[in-house]
Subunit: 211 residues, 2 copies
DNA sequence: GTCTATACGAGGATAGAC
DNA sequence: GTCTATCCTCGTATAGAC
């Protein structure tokens, strides 16, 4: 199956590069659609018919690219985490750890508001077990947790974040902002721009409602 | 239908009180089960078969009490909001507005952790429209929003909460704690008691991770 | 590897006896 | 108003032609 989507290996360079390019392009288009739908409706309410219709291909063709709905969602999530890692790797080096943590929350909420954040956390969904068996996803997640954990520790050491609040709690709190319904409610209210909403959530995440 | 579950009116006091008692008792049992299932799996993943099985009655009997799955969930939600209003009405009068707001968040998270909080917010679910057409729910919600809004304004006036953060944002932030996945993650981790988790979430909600 | 057509199961809701 | 048995729709997944 084309599920892992590896590029051509060095032994046979460019042998089928055009076909492969086309394949990857098609799969990227599928995953873009899946990202949107996962963001709008979540895994359980997203249907394969819908995905196929939005991409503009037949449902059966979808199953040639991804073996199941779970695999499709997992691929989408893995790509999102790769994107997150990329964002994190490209933050200004002279930013403090706290600044970097704020930046990743800003990116999460902003992505969520744009409708392309496939609901990372959310316990109570049937994908969770599928994700844990999806190596690419788990690999990215591990690296992401490691990096965020390091920044949290540094921010605690330097006094930018409270030293007496478990880092675990902070990690989950930051993660949870990616699926925070507050953003949806505020956007639905229509009184604020996406940027204003993002900044207010970043603020309440780090300073609460008293600071 | 017995959907509104009003007690016997004053014109015919106790005429069928025993039967009615039994009816209300049965319906309360159903709603207890629904609360648990909504808390564990959410609306979309909860099945009527499951509800019937857990209550110990046939599925068809369920439909004698509630006309649809949506009506069932709406009744469950309405009862929860009534409960919340009750908790709010019985807070110590000499508590400050901020204390009261903290108390309601504490109650929300605690209820969530106990597994009896039927996921209030959560956009992306099919119940939302049904809830908006359910008068008892909307009525309770209105009163709840009014009371919380008043407390927020008072806390802002007294300087307990930031005056430059829109009250709307605070309201939603408080609401969102009832379905915060952070609580689930921390509970799953097993490193903290429910009470510890609750207090940490109350803290981060109001003081953020820096305070 | 794309399509049309279809198998199959799950789940919401109902029929009709008691 | 409780039950058993059933209907019907929807959604995942597959068969098989091109």
């Amino acid at each position: 199956m084309a599920q892992t989507s590896l590029a051509s290996n060095s032994a046979t360079p460019k042998k089928h590069s055009f076909k492969q390019q086309q394949l990857l392009f098609r799969e990227a288009a599928i995953l873009d659609t899946v990202n949107q739908l996962l963001s709008q409706k979540g895994f359980d309410l997203m249907t394969m018919d819908e995905v196929a219709a939005n991409v503009g291909i037949a449902k059966a063709s979808l199953y040639k690219h991804f073996v199941s709905k779970e695999a499709l969602a997992a691929a989408s999530m893995a790509r999102l985490l790769e994107h997150a890692l990329d964002v994190m790797a490209n933050l200004p080096e002279d930013d403090s750890s706290l600044d970097k943590l704020k930046a990743i929350v800003r990116w999460s909420v902003s992505t969520h508001l744009q409708g392309t954040m496939p609901l990372l956390p959310s316990t109570r969904s049937t994908i969770q077990s599928a994700l844990q068996n999806h190596a690419p996803y788990m690999d990215c997640l591990g690296r992401l947790v490691e990096q965020l954990g390091a920044w949290i520790q540094q921010a605690q050491s330097s006094g930018e974040l409270s030293a007496d609040l478990p880092g675990e709690v902070m990690l989950y709190t930051i993660f949870a902002r990616s699926c925070d319904p507050v953003a949806d409610f505020l956007k639905q209210g229509g009184a604020f721009t996406d940027q204003e909403i993002t900044e207010m959530i970043v603020r309440t995440t780090f300073q609460g409602m008293m600071g």
